[in-house]
């Protein structure tokens, strides 16, 4: 007779952990309860609330692709109370997960188009979900271009996957690090993402752009994308506001009449431009 408490997380076991950078970690989480695993599904762009019991919950996107079933992955930077606690957890430990929440990237509508991913630092994880989703259904898309930058070589996340993408013939990957962040062995570009993007000048014809990064990067990259011929309707991003509930109740992520958690987090820049600047 008792209905499910919407705030009750699934119990998850850490199946694998990767130290991406000195302060960024990726966990692969598997459902402890078989029933939960069977009933669970999500789509690219959705997020969840990850619990460290006793410390609280933290919000991240699901960084793995829905095409890879049976587990989810999350990538986070050690920053506050919960992420510090998360970072101290190890393979085999139990965490909580609530979700999936929020809207999705309309990948189905992008069939037959090219995709351009522009991202920096810790903002790659939300797009990684889409990248793998697209790569796992590669036949549905034309060109796939990824422009990814970080402060330094050390700060690049998913280093192994970057290598893998590099080696694949069907992805054009441009990696860059900020001036001064390169190492002697660094073979990628040196420079800020907007500059590198402008130089690479990918075509906007029949292309969807996905832009995700720190506010300053977004601010400087938007004019470049516009110059390259992208309309605001064809540039997608995922917003990140402080959240507690993830389901439109706690009130934190309210921007204008929308809740980033419920009506987002995926928005086109045409939509973002209509929002009050409170994100």
């Amino acid at each position: 007779m008792e209905e499910k408490n919407v705030y009750q997380p699934y119990l998850m076991r850490i199946a694998a952990a990767i130290q991406e950078t000195p302060d960024v970690k990726t966990f692969r989480l598997e459902f402890i309860n078989e029933e939960d695993r069977k009933n669970f599904n999500f789509r690219a762009g959705q997020f969840g609330e990850y619990s460290v019991f006793g410390e609280g919950e933290s919000t991240f996107c699901i960084a793995s692709s829905p095409t890879r079933e049976g587990y989810i992955e999350c990538t986070f930077r050690k920053m506050g109370r919960v992420t510090k606690a998360l970072a101290s957890r190890e393979v085999g430990d139990t965490l909580g997960f609530r979700g999936p929440y929020g809207n999705t990237f309309p990948i189905d509508q992008w069939k037959g188009k090219s995709l351009l991913f522009v991202t920096g630092g810790i903002a790659l994880p939300p797009l990684r979900c889409v990248i793998w989703n697209a790569l796992d259904t590669r036949e549905n898309f034309k060109d796939i271009t990824i422009v990814y930058g970080a402060r330094s070589v050390q700060d690049l996340v998913y280093k192994h996957e970057l290598e893998e993408w590099e080696k694949r013939g069907d992805v054009k990957l441009i990696t860059t690090v900020d001036p001064g962040g390169e190492t002697p062995e660094w073979k990628g570009q040196v420079g800020f993402v907007p500059t590198v993007l402008e130089k690479a000048a990918p075509s906007s014809a029949d292309t969807i752009a996905l832009l995700c990064g720190p506010p300053i990067m977004i601010k400087l990259t938007m004019p470049i994308l516009t110059k390259l011929g992208f309309s605001a309707e064809n540039i997608f991003t995922t917003l990140e506001n402080r959240m507690k509930c993830g389901i439109g109740k706690c009130g934190r992520c309210n921007v204008g009449k929308y809740f980033v958690c419920k009506d987002g987090p995926v928005f086109t820049f045409a939509q973002v431009n209509q929002l009050p600047p409170e994100y």
Partner: protein
């Protein structure tokens, strides 16, 4: 379906006792130490009367200031969920004002839309509201400006209105109300021609439609800074508000047992939206004040078809720095 009966004021104590012995927790306004707040009572003795408005609303009954969301136990690397919060006690809230009863519509809209908040719903289901219509008001009241009235029945299960002869007219509005009457049927008499005393004369002070029309265009206006320069950024307005619903979530532990708690939060506090990185989408008080007004009078009407303000005037009464919401709204409506 409204059925009308009467109940003598002298019978209220009997009613309280009947409710109590029938297994109900009865909350009623009690005055003392400079505040009138809803507290659990055993009898009608000591229940406040004649208050224009209680210091805090009865929101605590439906959305407690601190509420258990879930419970867990940790043993090394494993976590087990424990039996969650006990079912809320069947509760009667006596003496809400009609504006407060109307605020339940806002709580319902927030907590039951899209994702059903079972914690809230269980409390709402377990709660019966006996409201008392207003025969007096003060300069802070403006229920009639936001679609309410001193005798509004919205949200009440039973509405009491004073009649001559030290009695109340009882409008039994819902099945829950009927069930309460059935617990002490002898205390209620037929209404037959009962004449109610005049209700408070709360004047309409602004045009709500005009305000809703005006707000989206005034986001960038200077009015927010001007109005909120004196705002000191506490959460009083939100916490005394019957219709404010925002919350925080906090984990607390004792050795290997833990609890996740939900507690009130306020958009007036800077930390509400502060990211761990230090970035704050609403960095200064004027933005937070704007959010408060926009959320109640623009976003909620747009998204939930409900106005997030019932005109109880508590925020204005309690504000340390006289941020009078009515005055501010009037100024916004009148601004060109």
């Amino acid at each position: 379906m409204t059925e009308k009966k009467t109940i003598k004021k002298s019978s209220l104590d009997g009613l309280f006792r009947a409710l109590k012995s029938g297994g109900k927790r009865v909350l009623a306004p009690v005055e003392g130490n400079g505040r009138t707040i809803f507290r659990e009572v055993d009898s009608y003795n000591g229940v406040a009367a004649g208050y224009i408005q209680t210091t805090l609303s009865a929101k605590d009954a439906l959305l407690p200031r601190c509420e258990e969301m879930l419970r867990f136990r940790t043993e090394q690397s494993t976590v087990t969920m424990e039996q969650g919060p006990a079912a809320p006690a069947p509760t009667v809230v006596f003496g809400m004002r009609p504006c407060d009863a109307k605020s339940l519509a806002v709580l319902n809209a927030v907590y039951l839309k899209d994702y059903n908040d079972e914690l809230y719903r269980a409390r709402a289901d377990a709660t019966t509201v006996i409201a008392i219509s207003c025969t007096s008001c003060d300069e802070y009241c403006f229920c009639t400006s936001v679609g309410g009235s001193p005798g509004d029945t919205t949200g009440s299960d039973i509405l009491l209105t004073e009649i001559d002869g030290d009695a109340y007219l009882a409008e039994i509005l819902t099945g829950k109300g009927e069930a309460l009457v059935a617990m002490a049927p002898d205390l209620f008499a037929a209404a037959g021609g009962a004449k109610t005393k005049p209700l408070a004369d709360v004047k309409v002070q602004f045009d709500l439609k005009e305000l809703e029309k005006k707000l989206p265009g005034s986001f960038e206006g200077p009015v927010w800074i001007t109005q909120s320069l004196r705002c000191i950024g506490c959460g009083t307005c939100s916490y005394v508000c019957p219709a404010c619903t925002c919350f925080d979530v906090q984990d607390e532990t004792d050795a290997n047992r833990g609890m996740r708690l939900r507690c009130w939060d306020s958009c007036g506090l800077g930390i509400f939206t502060l990211h761990t990185s230090g970035h704050n989408p609403r960095d200064v008080q004027s933005q937070r004040w704007r959010q408060r007004i926009m959320h109640k009078f623009s976003y909620q009407p747009d998204q939930l078809s409900v106005v997030g303000c019932v005109g109880c005037g508590r925020c204005s009464r309690a504000c340390p720095v006289d941020m009078n919401i009515l005055q501010h709204i009037k100024d916004i409506v009148e601004a060109r």
